[in-house]
Amino acid sequence: MSIEVSGLTKKFGDFVALDDVSVSLPTGQLTALLGPSGGGKSTLLRIIAGLDTADSGTVSIEGVDATGLPAQKRNVGFVFQHYAVFKHMTVAKNVAFGLEIRKRPKAEIAHRVEELLELVHLSQFSHRLPSQLSGGQRQRMALARALAVEPSVLLLDEPFGALDAKVRKELRDWLRRLHDEVHVTTVFVTHDQEEALEVADEIVVINEGRVEQVGSPDQLYDEPANDFVMGFLGEVTTLGGVVLRPHDIEVALQPGLAGAVRGTVTRVLRVGFEVRVTVRTGDGDPTAVSAQASPETTVVLTRTHARQLGLDAGTQVWLTPASGATTVSSMAPAGRRAAVTSGV
């Protein structure tokens, strides 16, 4: 294990940012710390880097106890959300900074900088100032700067958070490919579940200062430990007392399958290739006063499928969870730590 965190607790005044967090991050992998804003994931990353100190607990990096080490001595590469560029230095000088600090020979520095700029596709910008680069380019420069010192771990704090959607998607793919090339142990913080599912080998879900679940993207998506993880990794809806994903519901126009729930379509919304159908389930008459309180289920279908069924507001339908669907009981107290059942 490359990074071993055990029993970390950190408070800011009354606010508990981390509550007895223990987690092991494997060597050579790309791990995502995923969770809602204010959940403590950035704090965890900053403590690993030595930029913050924990109230209690230990951090070891590559088998060395780093708890008391200052940031300078941890040999950790850190990439910040807002790039943290050295404004007055050229791109090449920014990347060379860590090597110059280490007093490497000039020729070696120049060679290494050239190599890294090649890696992040910024070779032709080496003499520019950061202010002359776009956000995505600045972040790539920051990444090259962090990689220059050959860190034992690379930590990225919401690295694509300040970029627009298109660039974010590009850089995300690019980070994945870069990691496949460089193989440095990488941990990145994100609140975007799509980003985590797409890029990471392993995901650590953190909420309210605690680790909710650790696992591969597939594990987390298919076997969520509780309804928080399930809800955070994708859209959920309820059907007949279970929580499940809207695309895991089969829609029929006749009551064929046993246990099908009858309902009436109240709304059909098309978003691109998918169609979101809102179905009011519960008993019978949709015009009854009690209808307001009766539960609604959201179903996501493809455009083609919806057209085949001819769904429209007012259509009577029968809903069943698709076979193999991941479901979590919605009856769990306070909605936390619910039992998980897979398949129906």
Binding site: A71, V76, F78, F86, K87, A142, R145, V149
Partner: protein, 288 residues
């Protein structure tokens, strides 16, 4: 001779090309409103600054170069010029260090009475300078409670100038320091830089424009100071007499031409220093 073609080159078409390029760029981007604004600004600036200054320079130039020479060759005047300029430089250098430190403390540290200190910094600037002189006289004068009898010595000039120029660098550096993002320093730290290296290579280059701007203000104020010096320095010729006092003496003796000549010399010195500081700032902030 190998030098001949080199001399001829400027006349060749290649030599002219840059000029043509410059001509094709639009002459100005002023709209009507902006033109009006520029007009008002220039008129105001001319009435207040340019015309009086040119009047002084013109008055001084009437006597030709000979007048400048005779004014500067006067030993007493020359002593006043060197005293003023050297004290202004000294005080500005002190301010560069102390002002930056004070700004740092005010921005980065938390301590009891910080808000009060932040307000008090401006007092030397807000006090009428004659009052500043009085304040300093009571502390460093003949009845000094500290036993420092600096009044009427060159030390008094340093003291008075340091007092009145203190806020300039503090007030120019402070906002820039407040705007600096701490993640930049954290990035440098995680790359292995020590505190001192971070300050020298990351923080200082960002502060240089503010420091030089403050230094220019501080120097300009120092060479023009009058009020606080009158009481404290005693205006002893060759010892504590500064240029502004010397100019006043010329005027009181009806020698306005010499006063104008000396004034325009100081104007030139101020210009040179401001330009030098600007050049220095560009150099340093580009070096990285």
């Amino acid at each position: 001779m190998t030098s001949t073609p080199v001399l001829e080159r400027p006349a060749s078409p290649e030599g002219r090309r840059p000029r043509r390029v410059r001509r094709t760029t639009p002459r100005s981007t002023l709209t009507r409103g902006a033109g009006l604004g520029l007009g008002i600004a220039m008129l105001w600036f001319s009435i207040l600054v340019l015309l009086p200054l040119s009047a002084v320079v013109a008055a001084a130039a009437e006597g030709g170069w000979g007048r400048y020479l005779s004014v500067l060759q006067n030993d007493q005047t020359w002593a006043a010029v060197t005293l003023t300029v050297s004290q202004a430089v000294l005080v500005t250098l002190v301010n560069v260090v102390v002002g930056t430190v004070i700004a740092w403390v005010l921005v980065r540290d938390r301590f009891w009475g910080k808000r009060a200190l932040d307000v008090v910094i401006d007092v030397p600037f807000a006090l009428p300078t004659i009052v500043a002189g009085l304040v300093l006289l009571s502390l460093y004068g003949p009845n000094s409670p500290l036993g420092l009898h600096w009044a009427f010595t060159p030390n008094a000039v340093t003291l008075a100038l340091a007092f009145v120029t203190l806020p300039f660098i503090v007030r120019t550096v402070q906002p820039v320091l407040e705007e600096l993002e701490t993640d930049v320093e954290e990035a440098a730290a995680s790359l292995g830089a020590k505190r001192s290296t971070i300050f020298r290579r990351i923080i200082l280059p960002s502060l240089v424009p503010a420091i030089t701007a403050g230094a220019a203000l501080s120097f300009a104020r120092a060479i023009s100071e009058y009020g606080s010096l009158v009481l404290l320095s005693g205006n002893k010729p060759y010892e504590t007499e500064v240029v502004s006092v010397r100019v006043l003496t010329f005027i009181e003796n009806g020698n306005t031409a010499s006063a104008a000549a000396l004034a325009s010399v100081m104007l030139a010195i101020a210009l040179v220093v401001i330009v030098l500081l600007d050049v220095l700032q560009r150099r340093v902030s580009r070096r990285g």
